[in-house]
């Protein structure tokens, strides 16, 4: 049974529609990441689930109970706020106890739960401190602790790592991953950091333009983006989308011609694609490599070289002005201004129809 179910949730602020008939099912103990650009409605959706915002329509179900009309405190959800929202005048212990006291949990039980959470989060030494006396990372833990002690059915985290510095962020990410093994609840995390979403989530929900664009496992979304938006948004550096047309033919797979004239044989099944239809050829950097002129599909000029140590991203400009990103070995010798040959791995290429719909290499064959 689904832990959380959203059915046709929609929401407007005044005349502006921000969520358009969003439906989603989250399995028990699943970790879901909401990923999307700023303003895509991630926080709004999270807040509707929490009860901090009322949807204009639709239903929210949690473990078989319809919760969209319940007050936030009665929904069985706990939330970790982006800016933590710890009560500044209460000690860490009081912060964690507040919700439990409101719920009428007996004192010994409260103490036991706090002790347990403090142990797991390694904040035992800070229990009598006030939030103002703690570092950002410690406050973050307290905020998580405050959620854990409530033993909710669903955790909601709005950009939980965005206020931490890079080192702490990586560490906390690992801790979050460990933490979720310990809690018996589903978890939804809002982020616009895709690395965070990819590493932590069982499934990702990509939001844009008021809608869910795609729901799937990180690898699924990376390998089979449902549309051009998802393809560009997930993955770094972004996928290159090269304008192309479908070539006539009787092959099983589509062959396309780039604007510059080069032809690429893909492994995208051609049924349904119209001859001569305009499409975009989607290429991830790892599917474009540097090659000697005779083996190359295209010629280009290097405009930027990004060295990451273990690999190098080469941004190259084709004769017709199209920019394409290729991946090369870490010790690559290319320099800006070099003329290079690019070899396209057509087997891994994606095609996007004019309306954005993605088509992918046939995995079965």
């Amino acid at each position: 049974m689904a832990s959380l179910a959203l059915k046709d949730v929609h929401k407007s602020y005044g005349d502006t529609l921000v969520l358009d008939r969003v439906s989603l099912e989250v399995a028990a103990r699943e970790l879901i990441a909401f990923l999307g650009p700023s303003g895509s409605g991630k926080s709004t959706l999270l807040r509707i689930i929490a009860g901090l915002e009322t949807a204009d329509g639709g239903e929210v179900w949690l473990e078989g109970r319809r919760i969209d009309a319940l007050p936030p405190g009665d929904r069985g959800v706990a939330m970790v706020f982006q800016h933590y929202a710890l009560y500044p005048h209460m000690t860490v212990r009081e912060n964690m106890a507040f919700g439990l006291r409101n719920a009428g949990v007996p004192k010994p039980e409260i103490d036991a739960r706090i002790a347990q959470a403090a142990h797991v989060l390694e904040i035992e030494a800070q229990l009598e401190k006030k939030p103002g006396q703690m570092s950002g990372g410690q406050r973050q833990r307290v905020a998580i602790g405050r959620a854990i002690v409530k033993q909710p059915k669903l955790f909601l985290l709005d950009e939980p790592l965005s206020n931490l510095d890079a080192a702490l962020r990586t560490r906390t990410r690992v801790e979050l991953a460990q933490l979720r093994q310990r809690v018996d609840a589903a978890l939804i995390m809002v982020t616009h950091d895709q690395a965070e979403a990819m590493t932590l989530a069982d499934r990702m929900v990509v939001l844009n333009e008021r809608r869910i664009q795609q729901v799937g496992t990180p690898m699924d979304i990376y390998a089979r983006p449902a549309n051009a938006f998802v393809a560009r948004f997930v993955g770094s550096p972004a996928m290159t989308l090269a304008p192309a047309t479908v070539m006539p033919g009787n092959d099983r797979f589509a062959r396309v011609r780039l604007a510059g004239g080069a032809e690429v044989m893909t492994r995208v099944p051609r049924n349904g694609l119209v001859d001569g239809a305009p499409v975009s050829l989607g290429l991830r950097p790892e599917h474009v490599s540097l090659a000697p002129a005779e083996a190359a599909t295209l010629q280009a000029e290097v405009i930027l070289v990004e060295r990451l140590g273990d690999r190098t991203f080469v941004y190259a400009c084709l004769a017709d002005g199209l920019e394409m990103i290729a991946q090369d070995i870490g010790s690559s010798a290319v320099r800006v201004g070099d003329r290079v040959g690019l070899r396209i791995d057509g087997d891994a290429a994606h095609l996007f129809e004019a309306d954005g719909t993605g088509r992918h290499a046939d995995a079965a064959t």
């Binding site: 901090l52 936030p72 009665d74 959800v77 929202a85 409101n102 405050r146």
Partner: protein, 278 residues
Amino acid sequence: MSATSPRAGLSGPVLALLLVGAAVMLTPMVWTLLLSVKSNAALLGDSGAALSPPYTLDNYRAILADRLTSRWLLNSLIVSLGTTAGVLVLSSLAGFAFARLEFPFRRSLFLFVLLGLAIPEQAVILPRHQLFATLGLHNSYPGLILPGLTGSFGVFFMTQYFRAIPRDLDEAALLDGASRLRLFWSVLLPLTIPAQATLGVFTFLASWNDYWWPLISATTSDYYTLTVGLASAQMNYAQTSGLGFLMAQAVFASVPILIVYIVFQKQIVRAMAGTAVR
């Protein structure tokens, strides 16, 4: 470096100016204090006698011996503390409501409150006098306290302060299952303590020093506040024949204020510097 620090490195001229200023402020106070510890008789001929002994506490003894003076002191305390408590309670509740609750005509009501800031007491004192006479409130504590509770400033001040508290906290409390009352009492109110202190001190001082309304409302000496009472005790010739006693009264009346200032120094300075709302 030291030149930029506000404490260190006061230049000579600035220091001199400050010293002169301090002297100008302190002289009358010291003079009052000196006069108050001289006997009336000794001052009758020449008030310059205050500069030399013998000194005596007789004037203060006389004040304390007077049953009425202690009554007035008590009245002032009741009225000032009552006003302060009332203003704090009303302003906090109204401030919370204006800042956090949704109710019909919220904006218009708030504007209405702000209008109150623009109405001077003088403009309403006659109708108020008549109203209180009709209600039979003159010569009573409610009669002395109630007008002080009608000020708009406290409501405005607390509304601004509540507004400055991040809404995240409300939402966290909501998710923690807190009722509205619990949110107000356990989460938001404790965070307004600096504002309460500032507002409380100013309300107390204003109420303590108020002269006009108690002068109008309290017509029997039993309900005089200290300010009115002391003024009434001045005989026509007080300036000449009762100078020491007069000055002792003045010192006596300002002691509570002095205590308030000393205890709440921090809040007063912060309020003066305009940083009370973080």
